[in-house]
């Protein structure tokens, strides 16, 4: 059974692409067959984060418009078995995607035996974002502990509950919260919404917390999903998230300030 997952947020720049890349990679590492699709037509980015930008020949729009086959457009990851990337178009405008076209591509991926189809949504709540979530079975709502991000997440939850195919058929998309760019010391100082605050406000199940981390930028600089930088907190957080997503029970981590030892206090970092 294939599952379609949308990674969405409403607000821009909160970490959807970072999350899509790491979750897809970790699912494939777990032996799943995964396709990750960039829905951000005109603002392609997933290819860079995945480090496959020089291998894009055909993109999602080409497939939707019948200018290339899915096989031609899917980029096979060279690091992780079973991981495939479908890039967004850089040159077309947002209207190049149609609901029928997207459905055809998703159905073909299902027939090809993909376990997970991960849709990296563009920012906003307009057509592009609605198309990315329409066929979803599950939604990963990426939120920062900050007022405008929480508000926009609530909006996108409303859209999931009203305008997804599942909702139209009387069912519901399963919702998960990924709270990212979390800074425990600011939370402790009362300067940042805590994970409990956000869960309370959005009333949705917490899949995991990803700490604010410099390793995310380092990973994107080198075109590697941060989850591959195994010994970093961000990678561990994403591995936990995928473990929980697959039904495992893992305690939440990275919620407390890192206790700095004397050495660290003196020499920093």
């Amino acid at each position: 059974m294939s599952k379609v997952i949308v990674v969405t947020s409403g607000k821009g720049g909160v970490g959807k692409t970072t999350t899509s890349a790491s979750i897809s990679t970790a699912l494939a590492q777990k032996g799943k067959k995964v396709a990750v699709i960039d829905f951000d037509v005109g603002l392609r980015n997933l290819d860079l984060i995945m480090g496959v930008e020089r291998r894009v020949v055909y993109d999602f729009v080409n497939v939707v418009q019948g200018e290339a086959t899915l096989k031609q457009a899917l980029i096979k990851d060279k690091r992780v078995e079973g991981l495939y990337i479908l890039a967004a178009s850089q040159t077309r405008d947002k209207d190049a995607l149609t609901q029928e076209g997207v459905e055809r591509v998703i159905n073909e991926l299902k027939e090809d035996g993909f376990d997970f189809i991960v849709c990296d949504s563009p920012a906003g709540i307009e057509k592009g974002a609605q198309l990315a979530l329409y066929f979803a079975d599950e939604a990963i709502v990426v939120t920062n502990p900050e007022v405008s991000s929480v508000r926009d997440s609530d909006r996108i939850l409303g859209i999931l509950q009203a305008k997804s195919r599942k909702a139209e058929e009387g069912g519901a998309v399963e919702e998960h919260l990924v709270l990212t760019r979390y800074n425990p010391s600011r939370v402790n100082a009362g300067e940042m919404l805590s994970k409990d605050d956000v869960v309370d406000l959005l009333s949705i199940k917490l899949l995991g917390v990803v700490p604010e981390s410099q390793d995310v930028l380092n990973a994107s600089n080198s075109g590697e999903p941060v989850v591959l930088a195994q010994d970093t907190d961000a990678a561990q957080a994403y591995l936990d998230i995928v473990e929980r997503f697959l039904g495992g029970e893992v305690d939440h981590r990275f919620l407390e300030e890192e206790k700095k030892g004397l050495f660290k206090k003196l020499f920093g970092k």
């Binding site: 007022v147 508000r151 609530d154 909006r155 009362g190 605050d197 406000l201």
Partner: protein, 86 residues
């Protein structure tokens, strides 16, 4: 400082608490607004046209929304009539 912060903290609300309080109010409001049926704006226009036949009103003075009270859905119409109309 920690003690001072603690003592002051009793009076001064932390910014995260302010954020939560504001969001709680805002989200409740926005959820109700977004749940409003699609026909609401059109119905509002038609009601306005009917009222305008009898009284001169300012279009912005008509507030219309659907609320939930004790499990009942309530259609609320709120119109302030102009001063001279007594």
């Amino acid at each position: 400082m920690a003690l001072l912060d603690y003592l002051l903290g009793q009076r001064k609300q932390k910014s995260a608490n302010k954020a939560k309080d504001r969001l709680q109010i805002l989200l409740a409001h926005e959820r109700a607004e977004n749940k409003a049926p699609d026909y609401l704006p059109k119905m509002r226009d038609e009601i306005l046209q009917v009222i305008a036949k009898y009284v001169e009103i300012d279009q912005d003075q008509l507030k219309i929304n659907i609320d939930e009270e004790n499990g009942f859905e309530v259609l609320e119409l709120n119109l302030v009539l102009p001063d001279e109309h007594k």
